[in-house]
């Protein structure tokens, strides 16, 4: 009887351990979890690259915001640049587009933008503090913030026009 109880207890503990491990094995170890969806977007105060004016997130209160974190040394960022430009023109009256350059130099950024062209506000995060506040885990990453200033989600890859249109639809 005691032996049966010991075997049952061992099986129960083993089952629990296997369950916990299976949960871990079922997740992609390269995927960085993102828990900020549904949270208030962190406030920031940062300098515009073109006018040196200070820009804060709260000044766009009541408007949906698309926040794109990028860097000049990032190939996929250059690939998605025309798509973001397209979206910024298409949704100019409805959505605020902000680019935040981090992990980069201001000189590189100015050179890149002069070469590729730009129409929406570009900001420079010299110490990546805003990137850390937003839990950025790579480049490029695009955040979608609704009118209430809540992060609806982020897209952690070069973004296409279709996905931009779909995700913007969620914050309009």
């Amino acid at each position: 009887m005691k032996r049966v109880a010991a075997v049952v207890a061992a099986l129960a503990v083993a089952g629990l351990v296997v369950y916990v491990m299976a949960k871990g094995f079922g997740t992609d170890p390269h995927e960085v979890p993102f828990l900020m969806a549904g949270q208030k977007a962190p406030e920031f105060s940062i300098t515009r690259l073109d006018t040196n004016e200070t820009v804060t997130l709260s000044q766009f209160k009541g408007k949906p915001v698309v926040l794109n974190f990028w860097a000049t040394w990032c190939g996929p960022c250059a690939m998605e640049h025309p798509n973001l430009e397209w979206a910024a023109r298409t949704y100019a009256d409805k959505v605020v587009f902000l680019g935040i350059v981090f992990e980069d130099t201001e000189a590189n950024t100015r050179r890149f933008l002069a070469e590729k062209g730009w129409t929406f506000t570009q900001l420079f995060d010299p110490k990546s503090t805003i990137a850390v506040d937003y839990a950025v885990s790579g480049v490029p990453e695009t955040y979608f913030i609704n009118r209430e200033g809540v992060i609806v989600g982020k897209y952690a890859a070069p973004i296409s026009r279709d996905i931009l249109a779909q995700r913007i639809g969620e914050i309009l």
Binding site: K2, R3, A6, V7, A9, A10, V13, A14, L16, V17, Y19, V20, K23, H30, V32, P33, F34, L35, M36, Q39, A71, W73, C74, G75, F102, E103, D104, T105, N108, K127, S128, T129, A131, V132, D133, Y134, A135, V136, S137, G138
Partner: protein, 148 residues
């Protein structure tokens, strides 16, 4: 060497960054202890205090900023957990289902020991009578013939 060549060809790397002013020795030591507990967001299982990655340095700078604001260790860890979940902690907390990870192997070891001890206490019961010898009748006949 190949890695260096590939890195140079890809040209995809962040410029090096000035880590900024450090705190006094005591608080800087606290920053490093906390940095050892937090996972770098752009690396593979490396603590932010051990990673040379620019983004890890930015995360460490955030820890330094929060320490300078006199935040407690729990508040600083919570800042990162709120963003990345418990994934960001290199050592899982001993709460919830994580308890199984910590206590499970020990419990299994204990149960195993109990089973072994129970087995050792109980020697095999002797059988009532020895089994009857069985012999092939043909072999018995041959042996009997030889003995004659």
């Amino acid at each position: 060497m190949i890695s260096l060549i590939l890195l140079a060809l890809s040209l995809q790397y962040a410029p090096t960054r000035d880590i900024g002013p450090q705190l006094d020795a005591e608080r800087e030591a606290r920053v490093m202890v906390l940095g050892k507990q937090l996972r770098c967001a752009v690396c593979q299982g490396v603590a932010i205090s051990d990673s040379p990655a620019s983004m890890a340095q930015a995360q460490l700078a955030k820890v330094r900023e929060l320490v300078a604001e006199d935040k407690t260790d729990a508040e600083i860890l919570a800042y990162f957990v709120q963003r990345y979940g418990e994934w960001v902690l290199l050592e899982p907390t001993k709460t919830g289902l994580n308890v199984v990870l910590w206590a499970g192997p020990l419990a299994l070891l204990g149960i195993g020991l109990v089973v072994i001890l129970m087995q050792r206490k109980k020697p095999d019961a002797p059988s009532a009578k020895p089994p009857a010898p069985t012999e092939d009748p043909l072999l018995a006949q041959v042996r009997a013939d030889l003995e004659k």
